[in-house]
């Protein structure tokens, strides 16, 4: 896509707001619509857009495949780990009331933690699937589409 000047410039303008919006949806999810899943797919969409226009090599410099694969597992671990911590604290699995002195605070912390886990896994999985498709050999010229 070296010669698509308009696409390259617009992408350069769009990707930072997309990533910022993903972070907003992630960390503001308990006040406004959204949450981990939405944030994850928005972040992945931003990265995939960057990858399509600027080539996989550039985006793999930021998120190398090995890191993406580990992040996908890390998100599940964060979610499950939150449950295990509440289990160790003497409450039921995923009962976040155990995470802080006051049950209400514990619920709030727990929700933030599991949403983070969801966001990490979802974005990493989407990017990993994109890498898997993009790494397959056949390349089509722009005119052949």
């Amino acid at each position: 896509m070296r010669h698509h000047l308009i696409l390259r410039v617009i992408t350069k303008l769009l990707v930072p707001p997309i990533v910022l919006f993903a972070l907003y949806v992630q960390f503001h999810g308990d006040y406004s619509p959204g949450g981990g899943f939405q944030a994850g797919v928005i972040l992945a969409a931003g990265l995939i857009l960057f990858g399509i226009v600027y080539g996989q090599r550039k985006v793999k410099k930021v998120f190398p495949p090995w890191l993406v694969h580990k992040l996908a597992a890390l998100g599940v671990l964060i979610y499950g780990g939150t449950g295990v911590i509440s289990l160790l604290a003497g409450k039921a699995f995923l009962d976040y009331s155990a995470l802080a002195a006051h049950p209400k605070d514990g619920q709030h912390y727990g929700i933030i933690a599991v949403e983070l886990g969801v966001g990490v896994t979802v974005s990493a999985v989407m990017v990993a699937i994109f890498y898997a498709f993009a790494a397959r050999p056949p390349r089509i010229n722009d005119e052949d589409w």
């Binding site: 308990d30 006040y31 999985v125 990993a128 498709f133 790494a135 390349r139």
Partner: protein, 182 residues
């Protein structure tokens, strides 16, 4: 005004669907299915389901379009003409459609306060959420806390999907390439 917007969106949705049916060029079909998702996302916004609209716009119009294009690059770019015309699928589709439309006649009106969705557990969640969690967005509280198990299951499903795709078409084996001849 709402009715007008919904009407326009639905007409565009149906037009897109008909166009997809008639197309044989798969690149156009993939692009139109992205348009279809974007129109659905707009419909979700008019229904005040903004978080569903986010998801539909990002996954339906964005990521799945890219993945379909990737699949197309690996396979074929033209849809094959059907070899013989068969009446059975048409009959099945028409009967299913009629049954679904008949089913909607029974449903409560949109936004009616005494629909089962409003009278069953929703009121309970709305009452308890501020006291239990202090999270203003009740949807987040339900998904992450009250239904924490379900969401955990969903995350594991997403993770499993990635494992499946990586095993099928991922280049995980490439690391071992030097010692393997094929």
């Amino acid at each position: 005004m709402d009715v007008l917007i919904n009407l326009v969106l639905f007409i565009m949705l149906v037009a897109t669907a008909l166009a997809i049916l008639r197309m044989r060029h798969l690149f156009a079909v993939v692009m139109l299915s992205g348009v279809f998702s974007l129109l659905s996302a707009l419909l979700f916004v008019t229904l005040d389901a903004v978080d569903v609209a986010f998801t539909e716009a990002a996954v339906g119009a964005g990521i799945s379009t890219v993945l379909l294009l990737g699949t197309m690059a690996l396979t074929s770019r033209e849809e094959k003409m059907p070899r013989n015309f068969s009446l059975l699928p048409l009959i099945v589709v028409i009967i299913t459609g009629v049954v679904l439309v008949y089913g909607t006649l029974d449903m409560p009106n949109f936004g009616s306060a005494d629909s089962p969705a409003q009278t069953h557990v929703a009121a309970e969640y709305l009452k308890k959420t501020p006291k239990d969690t202090g999270v203003p967005n009740v949807v987040t509280a339900i998904l992450a806390s009250y239904r924490g198990y379900d969401t955990f299951g969903e995350v594991v499903v997403v993770f499993t999907a990635a494992i499946g795709v990586l095993i099928l078409i991922g280049n995980l084996a490439r690391r071992r390439e030097p010692e393997e001849s094929d």
